[in-house]
Symmetry: C2
Subunit: 346 residues, 2 copies
């Protein structure tokens, strides 16, 4: 049976929640609430959180199966929609992911968009992590179909390395949906008798009131780097991730979780004492304790920081996310050498 | 009849909404939803927005009367609670304000806390704007009673001039309520097998996932300025506001909306053509067009920026908020001179 991809994706930021809000308030929430809401979606924790905040309840979120690479299975999506409808629920939103948190998986958007189209569902794409790949001519095919999404969440503060936070919500809608959903007509803050077109004011369209002008960071960066400069960042990240993968394959004691399709490189460090012991009954239990121990050592040493996590039935493994444009092959070498040094006595 | 203070307060930031969420998830939401929710509160647009997001609906927010200075009338609060209960609703939250947006009013917290105590209601204080006054020994009496609040929202990015955004939510609760409300146990992001006490991790307690370490700004500023340095900022702001008020009183063509109790100085600029015409039938209509016109002129001139707004039955007036610690009396003089210069032909 395929993984139930309940977790992957970086979204998290209010943007993903906002998109859900948008969909909810903009589309069929009344109907849904009356009949018992059921949003069919490849679930992510920010989506469930959004459902909780909205008063829909986390039970209204259905988890769609993912394949062994973490990609949503469109056939299961169709099946879940059918099941929900049979139970009298009214599905209204599908949340697909472009670039999941752990494995960096891209959902098959064309097939998912077909399902949404057939059932009249709002398609949200959580491209918080992977959305920046659109800037690369070489790799943008990973997002084929995203042009059919009703809403897209994108975090330039992730792969593009804009300063935290810089989150965009992109909508197909041209009917001023944000204003219609969020507008509170607080005339003491959003004066209507200004000398310019107040449609340009964003204050009354968003969740927050006081907020930073985060888009300026993106605009300045884009102006400074240009399309090609940003594209180079993406392509370089892919190339460095590939370099790291090949180095991992060359070394003893390092084992890839899978061949990555993105810049998430997931692998186990198998310490000397566990090498060749794959068949021991306690192998996996012991292996899953290695990453936390190494993490403690690297933090105390102050030499580097690499994330780790369990994933489905897989025990703790390291996840190196190659995104910082200042990284070089030498950094990748250092990382692996340091892991070996820190773990040589384990 | 007293103003219906539907508007004042700066909260706006997600913090106010968070506080509502806290209250809702932590206290009586199930009951409330079943019986038809009714939150009795002095209403502010972020509170209504929060009610909308939660799926409670804006109708569940009741607006409590405020007196002519914009302060909540505790007797009306008590009356509204009674009316709500009589209708079968279950009030659960009162949102008071310390420092409203426009008038800078401080609600009588002791009396409101008494009402909340009698009825077992969660008391939230939106001190986004006025909370920093607690740092001043001279002026902190404005917040008497805030120690009885269940939750307080405070924006150091406002009166303390920390960089946007810096928002705090303070709770009486010591039972890890945030974690219980927001915890999503996303083990791929919030590892539990760390070498330090994971109770210190805030990631799983908040609304967002990826977020800036905004508290660092407050911490650094506090370290640099000390209690006394911050107190001086507050006291200086009050003193400068007082200077501005006295200057306004001295000049022809400037009319205070009321004596401020905080650093919001609200006044009309009455242009030469309207002076002495208070009895003309179109006086108020013409006066309310003056502020937008002057705002346009100052923006195009690039000389200054002063907010204006209508408020209740009062037409557009200027609101100078004296908060920037770099301001001096000379700036106040400039401001008034510039207003007179820009408006001399009106």
């Amino acid at each position: 049976m395929a993984d139930s991809e309940a977790l992957p994706s970086l979204a998290g930021d209010p943007v993903a929640v906002e998109a859900l809000l948008r969909a909810v308030f903009g589309v069929v929430v009344d109907e849904a609430i009356q009949k018992g809401t059921s949003a069919s979606q490849k679930c992510h924790y920010s989506i469930q959180k959004g459902a909780a905040f909205l008063g829909l309840g986390t039970d209204s979120v259905r988890v769609v199966k993912a394949d062994e690479r973490g990609k949503m299975v469109p056939e299961d999506l169709e099946r879940q929609i059918g099941m929900a409808e049979a139970e009298g629920a009214v599905p209204f939103l599908v949340s697909a992911t472009s670039g999941t948190t752990v494995l960096g998986a891209f959902d098959p958007l064309e097939a998912i968009a077909d399902v949404c189209q057939r059932h009249g569902l709002w398609l949200h794409v959580d491209a918080a992590w992977g959305g920046s790949v659109l800037l690369s001519q070489t790799h943008r095919h990973l997002l084929d179909g995203i042009q059919r999404a009703d809403s897209v969440a994108w975090n330039p503060h992730k792969l593009l390395a804009a300063g935290l936070q810089c989150s965009a919500l992109l909508l197909q809608d041209t009917s001023n949906l944000l204003k219609r959903c969020h507008g509170s007509q607080a005339s003491y803050l959003f004066q209507q008798d200004k000398f310019y077109d107040v449609a340009l004011d964003t204050g009354d369209k968003v969740v927050q009131c006081g907020r930073r002008v985060d888009c300026l960071k993106l605009w300045l960066m884009w102006k400074a780097q240009g399309d090609q400069g940003l594209e180079r960042r993406i392509d370089q990240a892919f190339a460095l991730a590939r370099y790291l993968v090949e180095e991992i394959k060359k070394r003893e004691g390092l084992e890839l979780v899978m061949e990555p399709e993105f810049v998430n490189v997931c692998f186990w460090f198998v310490p000397p004492s566990l090498r060749g012991k794959q068949d021991s009954p306690d192998y996996h239990e012991r292996l899953s304790k290695v990453a936390p121990m190494l993490k403690e050592r690297m933090v105390k040493e102050g030499s580097m920081m690499i994330g780790y996590q369990p994933h489905g039935t897989r025990g703790n493994f390291f996840r190196v996310v190659v995104a910082n444009p200042a990284l070089t092959c030498a950094d990748m070498d250092f990382l692996l050498n340091e892991l070996e040094r820190l773990g040589q006595d384990l």
